[in-house]
Symmetry: C2
Subunit: 421 residues, 2 copies
């Protein structure tokens, strides 16, 4: 629904009223004349710091992508790099109208520092593998405990085992238990591809989703990244926990890495599971842009189901906002009284959006991230008229340019992990 | 290949030299410091004037899209509308770095007027149906004769029967004959979907491509829009005419209208046929953006073939430039001495492109149409630093906004044609 001539009133980071535009000017007003106000996009799964690897590895199969390139390169990634890469990602997200994101990466405390400085909202998880020994889980759990509700509530946390194929059942059970104790959720990769599901069935006789059920992860509440390998039998396992489960759909990465089929969006939604939109990490998706992933989601669903009526304009927008919020357990994603004031103003006056027969269709099929003029999080403007207010873009670019080439100079015999799901 | 620190010298619309940057400043210089110069994108198939219907019809199946919506609405489209809609499309293309396009629409003389004013390069065809009687073909042929090589060569023409299912064999033969006489090609829709091929086989025992062979259209030279229904047997028919045949691949439209499968790109290329990239008309694709269609082409090929090594970064760029040029029979699409000076300058310094590990990957997977800073056609700057030099955007938007709603107020009992391929 699009309504014209409205003011949005914000007090202490919360929307307190929405009503007809008044001539009265108040301190702190942001001028939205001629712009469309909408809830900020919510990026339900990313590895923000991997901006530093954007474009470094192209046109290779997923096993080689991990084993020959990304995981060996990540041996080089330091805590400083995580803060730097996350700063870059946050700036890019502010420019693209993303107001909150769910992140899964190492050195999450340094990602938190970047989030605090940027002004964005984020759910952060400290990635761990069981190959790290007990320290992995402990670090992830202590991060989740120490940082939950930090930055005035802008930062929340998750327990972040990497995946069902890189963390053993004991660690998954412990992560679930820690999440329950802290009142947070688990965020992990599971059933990323149908091959992973088949591999799990062959090795253990159960699907990755059954692993999550058996280890108490579903009961704790979980954000499942990708879930492209979720099979019909899994839905009955997921449905009882629909109030605390979300799945992040990141179509650009799937298409680029050729992990066909896609997340079974309709089946999950029919089971009551929130399916949000994510970008995945910029090493695979190359841009942290939910306009792009929203559009791809609609296009790909129509295409693979050979049905142009599938996943209409309104549903695409819902997935990028309220559904993504529900998927990550956030109350944002709505322009409504009581909701967090995470608001973007989009300029639909560009020639590429004219004529404006259908503003919602313009958002889904014509608009670009560069059409976002203003990004507000927690009632605080982070970008106005495309001017970043919390980031010095030139200084940040210079730091990134100085560090990035060094990261690629890696030892091919070293790796943080082996991809053998 | 990316080379730094070069000057491109242009005389009378042609690139005369490319060499190391000189400190010498010449009259008419365009400053490209810090920007990537590349050949302008070539849009190998569109219906430019249909910008006026952008977003008017969403989320409906292709038969309904034509029969219940677009073709009834097009009864309202006047010659003035065609000029207006093409003006809008030209402005949008200049902003998106498209320097030439192949257009297929009614009132093509008025599209030509828009092209002349905009400064773009175009191959224009006057659409006709056999249901128009002899006047359809005659108008298309006389347009092709009168306007070929107009505007100092910026405008070339094609004979433009609508499709194999809306034009009879006699008209196709006559169009081919007229094209041969004029030394131009035919531009038409053929084998748009596999259903069309099946329907042709059922009704006539031959494929749409066989129809083109039998009517002399292949021999005359032809730009085939879409060709998603081209089957293996068709390739042997096409191959002997590879020097004069191109196919336009427009993935956003196919995915949106769910016309799966896609153009068989690899099979056509193996047969020596140029496969270019197009946007199709903005009523289906919503934006005239080859960054988007280039990216979708690469993503979709990897995805449908379940092979992340398919259609790499260099091939995607080639399809958007030199392959598109070859598909439409143009000598543009290259930064080379002797080529038309159709050049764009792209800013890859945006945060969404940092770090710049791989500039070509940045173009394919990170950059946006809004990153194009400067667009030059025939040596003449049409946009510099994103300022349009041949179009008054505000005045144009106002004219579009005034007219567009009236177009949708149509009589549902009237239609320009019935879609029953």
């Amino acid at each position: 629904m699009v309504v014209s001539g409205q003011d949005i009133h914000v007090v202490a980071g919360v929307i307190t009223a929405i009503g007809p535009t008044s001539a009265q000017s108040l301190t702190g007003d942001v001028d939205a004349a001629g712009l469309m106000a909408m809830p900020g996009f919510i990026n339900s799964h990313t590895h923000a710091a991997m901006t530093l690897l954007r474009g470094a590895v192209e046109d290779v199969a997923v096993e080689s992508w991990f084993n020959d390139h990304i995981w060996p390169i990540e041996v080089n990634v330091t805590a400083d790099d995580v803060q730097l890469g996350t700063e870059l990602a946050c700036a890019e997200m502010i420019q693209a109208g993303v107001t909150s994101f769910a992140d899964h990466y190492f050195h999450a405390d340094r990602a938190a520092a970047a989030v605090i400085n940027s002004g964005l909202r984020a759910n952060l998880g400290m990635t761990f593998f069981s190959s790290q020994g007990p320290a992995g889980l402990e670090t992830s759990a202590s991060f989740a405990a120490d940082w939950n509700d930090a930055a005035g509530g802008r930062i929340t946390t998750s327990l972040a085992p990497h995946a069902t194929y890189t963390c053993d059942d004991a660690d998954l059970s412990s992560a679930a238990e820690a999440a329950r104790t802290l009142g947070v959720r688990v965020h992990l990769h599971a059933a990323e591809t149908v091959e992973q599901t088949e591999s799990s069935l062959a090795a253990r006789g159960i699907t990755p989703i059954q692993v999550l059920a058996d280890t108490g992860v579903l009961d704790a509440g979980v954000l499942i990244a990708h879930g492209c390998g979720i099979v019909p039998d899994d839905l009955a396992l997921l449905a009882p926990f629909a109030d605390r489960i979300g799945v992040a759909h990141c179509p650009k990465t799937y298409m680029k890495l050729a992990t066909n089929p896609l997340t079974p969006i309709d089946e999950l939604r029919s089971a009551g599971i929130a399916v949000g939109l994510g970008t995945d990490g910029p090493a695979s998706c190359n841009s942290i842009d939910l306009f792009e992933n929203m559009r791809l989601t609609a296009l790909a669903q129509k295409f693979i189901h050979r049905d142009a009526t599938r996943l209409g304009v309104s549903q695409a927008l819902a997935m990028a906002g309220p559904e993504s919020a529900r998927a990550i357990g956030s109350s944002a994603g709505r322009l409504a009284v009581g909701a967090p004031a995470d608001i973007i103003l989009v300029d639909l006056s560009g020639l590429h959006c004219q004529p404006l027969h259908n503003p919602l269709a313009a958002l889904v099929y014509s608009a670009r991230a560069s059409d976002v003029q203003t990004t507000i999080v927690d009632g605080i403007p982070l970008m106005v008229d495309r001017e970043l207010l919390t980031v010095d873009a030139a200084e940040l670019s210079a730091r990134v340019a100085a560090r990035a080439p060094q990261l690629l100079d890696h030892d091919p015999t070293q790796s943080i992990q082996t991809y053998a799901p």
